[in-house]
Amino acid sequence: MFRKVLIANRGEIAVRVMRTLREMGISTVAVYSDADRTSLHVRMADEAEHVGPSPSGESYLRIDRILDAARKYGAEAIHPGYGFLSENAEFAAACEDSGIVFIGPSAASIRSMGSKTAARQVAIAAGTPVVPGTDHGVTAEEAREFGRTHGYPVLLKAVAGGGGKGMRRVDREADLESALRDASSEAERSFRNAEVYVEKLIERPRHIEIQLMGDRHGNMIHLGERECSIQRRHQKVLEECPSPLVARYPEMRREMGEAAVRAARAAGYYNAGTVEFLVDQDRHFYFLEMNTRLQVEHPVTELVTGLDLVRMQVEIAAGGRLPLTQEEVSWRGSSIECRIYAEDPYNNFLPYPGKLTRLTRPLGPGVRLDGCVYDGWTVPMEYDPLLAKLAVWAENREAATARMIRALREYDVGGIRTNIGFFRQILEDPDFAAARLHTGFIEEFFVRQPSHESPPEFAAVAALAAALHASSRTTPEAAPAGASAWLTAGREGLLR
């Protein structure tokens, strides 16, 4: 087993990986940019190395600096987390060349499954159903042709993409060219690859994915599915295991699991990976893409299967065998995860970085929190706004929902905006309870505007709190920059 591992990442996932490494008795090396000197992953690690300025292109994406850090501290392996270099075949190859173990699949597997279009070819060859689409990056002319052949709406996606970056829905040809330009420039910025492909859009699909784990001895199993249909801006925000649809039609787990294993095997895959499927209204599933890394939402699988996916990744990377067979995998109870973001759900989910002035974490039975925040930390504006993942486990979905609502009630983050309150509205929505899920759920939720009736006296209590708050602001220093008229008025009124 390794004695020391470098984590080529930041934020909650760096902290998550370190926790398991520490439990395994493995020493940890963090890397950090200028913006992250005081971030939790640096404070928590045994050793930490500065790898450059805040823009990730000059720090977390610098293969040379990450490898230098690994050599400097004598790390035998690198865990890439998710995002950044995790799906970069060049990085995996550079690790292999330097004699440092990349905790993930081979560079060749990343190449064949990491590109969405190449992965489609592998899936088609393996007999896994796919959504109609082009197999390569397209020009505006080719995209137009595709739209004329298959009809609108279509979806533009970054060839090297993930996390919804470089993705655009297009409803008519007139919008195609500008959407292609936007998607392409976003793809360039996010992945350094401007190529965008186009596929037919399936209306109101569910997003259900299969967790895979394979060792380097030819064994591969699936660890069941995750339902990730609740998304905003094509990015998952709430995930659950089991999928309520699969819970109702249990044969789907076996069918999708086998299809996923088949596709991954075709790519000679090992370590953790996830095959994402779109599921249409008639429960047909289509291969969407494969993520050749640990997923953000892996905790729900861990809670239901009782496995530690990071530990399995590390053991497999060190040459170990899978600790269990497919028949030995069991799923117990129900788990839900909410991704807590620094963003304003009531203003188009725009990110909201800043300094945390208060923090109360949810605790108690069945609650797990994977986070990177602490009271007084300033959330940097350079990176993804994910603050923490709040996951719960309970004996069934109804109980898990109630537990999550309870945990969200305890969770308080002050000074910045978060989506904590918004999740509670989602979880209390009858459509969520009835599991009428699809990837447009949140957009429709805003259109439906289900009444979120508060107890009648709450408005009066809120009014009292606001009045007390405004009247307590007696010194100009207490006012934030750009204090608006109400604040000045309240203050001057009190001084009189």
Binding site: P351, A462, A465, H469, A470, S471
Partner: protein, 165 residues
């Protein structure tokens, strides 16, 4: 101390008669009520009214206060009725409009110059935070009066970027 409030769109007047912790207050011409109020953490008001316990969390937004009680969210504007409410930023009068930053971030691009005539939907300024770019667009045809935004500058939420007329 009397304050005028607009809470989730509804107007209310509150009269605060005594200070915390033993607050006596009255809404409009209603009956006087009593609340026991402590501030255990900055921006958190623990309020006991008739034995019921409320934890109200107050955040300052550019144009209002956001109060969250048990996950329920209220937007509250507070004004002192003895002062004429000053015109808030963004409403100078007929035809003038300020475009403000919707989030804290960095100005990536300024797409217009003073004197330009912009059409509805035309991009004005691009603000970026956390890898999300947000292009602020003109709502209607207008002339660019002042460009406050500078490329590369860091801006706070609510900061004026462009003034249109």
């Amino acid at each position: 101390m009397k304050l005028d409030l607009t809470i989730n769109g509804a107007d209310k007047r509150i009269d605060l008669l005594t200070h915390a912790p033993g607050v006596r207050f009255r809404f409009g011409d209603g009956e006087e009520s009593a609340a026991h109020v402590e501030t255990p953490e900055p921006g958190v008001y623990s309020i006991l009214i008739g034995g019921r316990s409320y934890d109200a969390r107050v955040e300052e937004a550019p144009n209002c206060l956001i109060v969250v009680i048990d996950g329920h969210r209220f937007e509250v504007e507070v004004r002192d009725p003895r002062r004429r409410a000053r015109r808030s930023a963004g409403r100078h009068g007929e035809g003038v409009q300020d475009i403000v930053a919707p989030m804290p971030g960095k100005v990536i691009r300024v797409l217009i110059a003073p004197g330009d005539v912009v059409s509805p939907g035309q991009g004005l300024v691009v603000v970026e935070a956390m890898k999300m770019q947000n292009e602020l667009k003109a709502q209607r045809e207008a002339r660019v009066a002042i460009v406050h935004a500078r490329e590369g500058a860091t801006v706070a939420a609510g900061e004026i970027l462009v003034t249109l007329e």
